[in-house]
């Protein structure tokens, strides 16, 4: 089916599936098939922040004081995070927008991706402050073997879905030969690719970020690189929300609350989806190995980090109806919760209702007491 930016056919988005139905036409949110996405949009927008708001100047001094292995840990993590958000800043848009069928989900995907671009810009903000010329750091992201291995695995499912969607939207269902390679395109194949891609994205949001987050917060526990930690804390809060959205999508499918064919596919591809998650966990452990290859940092080592990855993987997997595969029961890094707790994230005055800040605005809450000194 050819993609159109404004579908001229009258469609009822209340009966469309999330994906592979009719293209969206009117961006309307007065009625929603899955209201959760509208709520997620509201929440995400309420989280709005800019990297420039966070002062990272003290980090430069701290960075000079770090040992060489610690500098390696810090910079490698930033590189990996930069890679992850480079992918996430564009891929949901390119992969999902051409096939989405609900206006509220379409807007959620755009909002989600937009926030990933804020994250990307904040890595530049951090690196610019640490180095007068951060080019060598950015350039290494595409040549560093450790990072490339991860990039290949992360982008694989996206690329596969995008390519097959392009074939379907330009040539329709059937068997197509491109550059000597034969591709079978039909709705079942497309939906399977969609399901696996969403699982890969879910695993990315669920565990891939967390080894790096843990290291950042371990520095902050020692009162080092605190500007960076402040930014990563804001990023972690956003990522938690993104994770909630992919969990909702996967659960809506698996429980037959959206497209019934996706429920069949979820059952059929369960093992493959599980494997995507497990290999993401394995890769994160390998990453921990690479981080600590030159030596440890105070308060953190490879073993604790691997246990933490297993601990959160258990939680994230049960959230999408999978068995918890790992032994670890209690949180090996309890202080992480202090950084992932959104109560502790500073609220900007314009976000909360402080009337003194609202210049020229009306405070709509009026009580009887306000008229106490009022005389006629």
């Amino acid at each position: 089916m050819k993609y159109t930016t404004f579908n001229q056919q009258s469609v009822n988005p209340l009966v469309e599936p999330m994906f592979f139905g009719n293209p969206v036409n009117v961006a309307r949110y007065d009625q929603q098939k899955h209201s959760i996405f509208e709520k997620l949009i509201e929440k995400q927008i309420s989280f709005f922040w800019r990297p420039e708001e966070v002062d990272v100047t003290r980090d430069r001094v701290d960075f000079q004081k770090l040992t060489e292995p610690e500098q390696h840990i810090f910079i490698s993590n930033l590189k990996y995070q930069t890679l992850l958000d480079s992918v996430q800043g564009r891929s949901p848009n390119i992969a999902f927008l051409p096939i989405v069928s609900l206006p509220e989900l379409e807007t959620w995907i755009e909002t989600w991706s937009f926030f990933e671009t804020i994250h990307s810009r904040s890595y530049t903000h951090i690196l610019r402050n640490l180095f007068s010329d951060p080019s060598s750091i950015f350039e290494d992201i595409v040549v560093n073997e450790q990072i490339k291995r991860r990039a290949a695995d992360i982008s694989r499912y996206y690329d596969d879905l995008i390519f097959h969607t392009q074939l379907w939207q330009t040539q329709g269902e059937g068997v197509h030969t491109v550059d000597g390679e034969v591709y079978e395109v039909n709705m079942r194949v497309l939906k399977k690719k969609m399901y696996l891609c969403m699982n890969s994205v879910n695993a990315l949001e669920a565990v891939r970020f967390y080894v790096s987050f843990a290291c950042t917060f371990a520095f902050a526990e020692r009162e080092l690189m605190e500007g960076n930690a402040k930014i990563i804390r804001l990023i972690a809060r956003d990522e938690n929300l993104h994770l909630s959205s992919t969990q909702h999508i996967l659960n809506l499918w698996a429980r037959g609350k959206d497209d019934p064919e996706m429920a069949e596919i979820a059952a059929e591809c369960h093992e493959e989806a599980r494997q995507i998650f497990i290999s993401a966990v394995e890769q994160e452990k390998e990453w921990a190995d690479y981080l600590f290859k030159n030596g440890s940092m105070i308060g953190m080592n490879k073993e604790i980090l691997c246990q933490y990855v297993e601990y959160i993987a258990n939680q994230r997997m049960t959230a999408i109806g999978f068995e918890a595969p790992y032994e670890v029961k209690s949180n090996p890094l309890p202080w992480m919760n202090n950084y992932l707790n959104s109560d502790n994230v500073q609220v900007a005055p314009q976000e909360s209702e402080i009337s003194s800040y609202l210049v020229g605005q009306i405070d709509s809450s009026v009580s009887e007491d306000d008229f106490a000194d009022f005389e006629l």
Partner: protein, 90 residues
């Protein structure tokens, strides 16, 4: 003039009974009583505190955004309305 005891009780499977504290979320009540419960965001969107509700009713202080099953609740953003029986994953 003895006031009738209106304190709600929270029965935590395999742990024991805990008193509810008015104006506190269920998570805060559990923490106050020393019952360990996972949490991250404390704002209903991450789902880390997902807990099975076996019996009773709760009301939410904010709209829970994290995915929860029909028989699950998010202790970080709800308060008990009745006596509860819950199973906190350990």
């Amino acid at each position: 003039m003895g006031k009738p005891d209106t304190t709600l009780r929270i029965d935590v499977v395999d742990v024991g009974c805990v008193d509810a504290i008015s104006d506190k979320t269920l998570l805060e009540c559990l923490e106050h009583a020393g019952v360990e419960c996972h949490f991250n965001c404390r704002d209903g969107f991450c789902g880390a505190c997902r807990t099975k509700l076996i019996s009773g009713e709760v009301s939410y202080t904010v709209d829970p955004l994290a995915f929860i099953d029909d028989d699950e609740i998010l202790p970080c953003c709800c308060k008990p309305l009745t006596n509860l029986k819950i199973d906190v994953p350990l």
